[in-house]
């Protein structure tokens, strides 16, 4: 009986083999080969990895932005999921629709819309202009410049003469802004990541919290725990699996995205996804280097996930004890 049922998984096994295992093997093969320019012959090499040092700064930048985006998603997502799980089914339905709604519109269209919204002459800047927020920004910058100049003349000079350093506070904050620069900044990229991947944080946390056994919470209260203690000692540890899968589902696509950074980041500072895309479909054709970068990224992500899951397991057990 068991063996007969195993056949039902055949389509998936086939699918995995064709579209996951074989492509990964191809990436590995490409990563360890290069093409000779004069003869056109493909030969095994480690050169692709030797170049990796040049791109270390891109790796750092990508992981940094993805971590920030994941952290913000967690910060927004956890309270929302908690609130949703605690409210009645009517609220849950509406909230669920609102969370899922943006995903019914194509991902690229949503990001295009952000390009318009954030642009220098876009609706958001026009609103800020009309409300006087930009003038306020200029005023604050002017004030800060004045303050810094005053400090530079007094306290900082004294400090410098004491320590023999040459330190000065910036007095060059712009005071003639007509718009805030929002599009084509790293902040815009993080915004794009948070906006697009937030549902992937909320849904797993929500589904864990809503399935939590209420009798555990009652028991904790019976034993005299206050509500903040119930949350810290019972709800939080029990919701950790949801948090972990949410973090994974936000972090992994964030670290490898290229559409978001291309559209909202402007390409003056590349992310890993851009760098890889450049080697396959962008301006520089070198699938061997592209595969090597992908492979290194994959390995780092897998290590991160492994460490995090171990950390998660340990935490859970410690608290349970």
């Amino acid at each position: 009986m068991k063996n007969r049922l195993a056949w039902f998984s055949a389509p998936y096994v086939l699918w995995m083999a064709l579209f996951t295992v074989i492509p990964v093997i191809m990436v590995v093969v490409y990563a360890f080969t290069a093409v000779d320019l004069t003869t056109g012959a493909v030969h095994p090499t480690l050169d692709n990895f030797a170049q990796m040092g040049t791109y270390a700064v891109v790796f750092v930048r990508s992981f940094e932005l993805a971590l920030i985006a994941t952290f913000i998603c967690l910060l927004i997502g956890y309270p929302v999921s908690y609130l949703m799980a605690k409210e009645g089914p009517g609220f849950q339905r509406i909230a669920m629709v609102l969370i899922m709604l943006p995903m019914w519109v194509n991902f690229l269209l949503r990001t295009y819309a952000w390009m318009t919204i954030l642009s220098n002459n876009g609706p958001l800047n026009q609103l800020f202009q009309a409300l006087g927020i930009i003038d306020l920004g200029n005023l604050v910058n002017g004030g800060l410049n004045g303050l810094c100049a005053w400090l530079n003349g007094g306290a900082v000079e004294l400090l410098n003469s004491l320590l023999g350093t040459d330190f000065a506070l910036s007095t060059a904050r712009p005071t003639d802004m007509t718009y805030f620069k929002m599009l084509y900044t790293q902040g815009a990229v993080v915004l794009g990541m948070v906006y697009n991947y937030l549902p992937f944080m909320i849904l797993p946390i929500y589904s864990v919290i809503i399935k939590m056994d209420n009798s555990l919470l009652e028991a904790a209260r019976d034993l005299g725990a206050g509500s903040s203690r119930v949350f810290r000692k019972v709800i939080l540890p029990l919701s950790l699996p949801g948090v972990l899968s949410g973090v994974t589902m936000v972090f992994v696509p964030s670290v490898s995205t290229f559409a978001i950074s291309k559209m909202l980041g402007g390409g003056t500072k590349l992310l890993l996804g851009d760098l890889i895309e450049l080697q396959f479909l962008g301006g520089a054709y070198n699938p061997y280097l592209g595969s090597a970068i992908s492979l290194v990224m994959m390995v780092i992500v897998v290590i991160c996930m492994y460490v995090m899951n171990r950390f998660g397991e340990g935490e859970e057990q410690a608290v349970m004890l």
Binding site: L37, T54, Y55, V57, V58, G90, R93, I94, V97, L98, L101, P102, W104, V105, N106, L109, R110, Y112, A113, M115, T116, I117, S119, N120, N121, G122, K181, L183, Y184, M263, G265, G266, G267, T268, K269, L270, D274, L275, L278, Q279, F280, L281, G282, G283, A284, Y285, N286, P287, L289
Partner: protein, 379 residues
């Protein structure tokens, strides 16, 4: 309660569609929907003729496609990409499945060199005789066996006269910290490094690695000084039309399209010279639909199609009659005379072309060097 939910939902959905609709109104996106996927199956079957074209965004009067389809019964799958390099990679990674492509001069040489283009039977393209001799037998195809010119023009500086008050005569403005955060650099290695090479006084076709590296360094320094708002290709339309940036480099024809939406834009071909390019229609060697491809190319070479294309995309046609007739034709269509200054931007006069240089194909080592530098640029 359910009704309210449904209503809220509908409103938000409508709003979402509206917002995304605003950003998406450029016509080239209408062109991308045609997919080349279904091509290979039905290419030769009777009655159902198909043609797969790969071209640039905003690069054809879309009504010409409908007209061609109606007249011949050939279904045209029209796809767009944004640069020669992207198109080349598309051909390399997917095998393409295209019949007709419209690469620029230097990319054509490379494709010929790699044996990817088919020789064209000009007997089946009678309208080829209408093409001006200036655009035949050019360096990328010296015996003119593979190509039929489609458009030509110059690369130049597009700037917003409200924000740039000084006269623009030099490529230096593309590297000028005085316009920090207000400059859009072009997102392909040949043009971007070409601009730097020209501003340094070198040839755009140099193979001297020291010169290319110097040009690369110039772009890197400007990028690190925060001169560039972004590296863009067709996103430039949205940005320059909306006044989001002050200076950019792009193609003359696209400048004229932008001018229709923003009158304070101006165009200059710098004193140091610039690139002048020819984009030509080619048939790929592995094309499935050769006779359809010939019909298509012949159709687009006709004076009528050339005129309408010029009017729509603002790129000059190589068709002699169309070039001569255009000012007159314009007056007939719109009831007002064509601004000759604009006409000279579109179809640059000989004295401008004299200081411009065409891109020649670079040797493989130099191309790899370009690719490597381009990859390192954003790090």
């Amino acid at each position: 309660m359910k009704k309210i939910t449904a209503l809220t939902l509908a409103c938000i959905l409508a709003m979402g569609l509206f917002l995304s609709g605003c950003a998406m109104d450029d016509p080239d996106n209408a062109g991308t929907s045609g997919s080349p996927d279904s091509s290979n199956s039905s290419g030769t079957s009777e009655g159902k003729r198909e043609l797969n074209v790969c071209s640039w965004g905003e690069y054809i009067d879309l009504s010409l496609i409908d007209e061609f389809e109606e007249a011949t019964g050939i279904k045209v799958n029209y796809q767009t990409t944004d640069s020669n390099e992207t198109m080349y990679n598309l051909l390399k990674t997917t095998g393409g499945g295209f019949d007709v492509i419209v690469p620029s001069d230097y990319m054509i040489s490379q494709l010929i060199e790699e044996g990817m283009l088919a020789e064209i039977n000009y007997d089946n393209i009678p309208n080829f005789s209408l093409i001006d001799d200036r655009f035949k037998n050019l360096s990328y195809d010296p015996e003119n066996k593979y190509t039929v010119p489609y458009t030509w023009g110059t690369l130049g500086i597009i700037y917003n006269t409200e924000r740039v008050t000084e006269p623009v005569t030099s490529w230096d403005i593309m590297f000028d910290p005085a316009h920090a955060g207000d400059v859009l650099m072009i997102r392909n290695s040949r043009d971007a490094f070409g601009i730097a090479l020209m501003s340094l006084g070198y040839s755009v076709n140099t193979t001297d690695e020291a010169q290319i590296r110097e040009a690369y360094q110039k772009v890197v320094d400007a990028n690190e000084a925060g001169v560039y708002q972004a590296f863009v290709m067709d996103e430039i339309f949205q940005n320059m039309e909306g006044g989001n940036a002050a200076v950019a480099t792009y193609y003359a024809g696209d400048y004229l399209t932008m001018l229709e939406s923003n009158e304070s834009l101006a165009y200059a071909v710098p004193e140091e010279g610039s690139n002048w390019f020819v984009d030509a229609m080619c048939i790929l060697k592995d094309a499935q639909n050769v006779s359809e491809a010939e019909e298509w190319i012949n159709f687009l070479c006709s004076t009528e199609a050339s005129l309408r294309n010029m009017d729509y995309i603002w790129y000059a046609s190589p068709n002699t009659e169309a070039l001569e007739m255009y000012p007159e034709w314009y007056e007939e269509q719109y009831g007002e005379p064509l601004d000759m200054e604009l006409y000279e931007i579109m179809a640059a006069p000989q004295e401008v072309l004299d200081r411009c240089e065409a891109y020649l194909v670079l040797p493989a080592e130099t191309r790899t060097f370009y690719n490597d530098l381009w990859t390192q640029l954003g790090t």
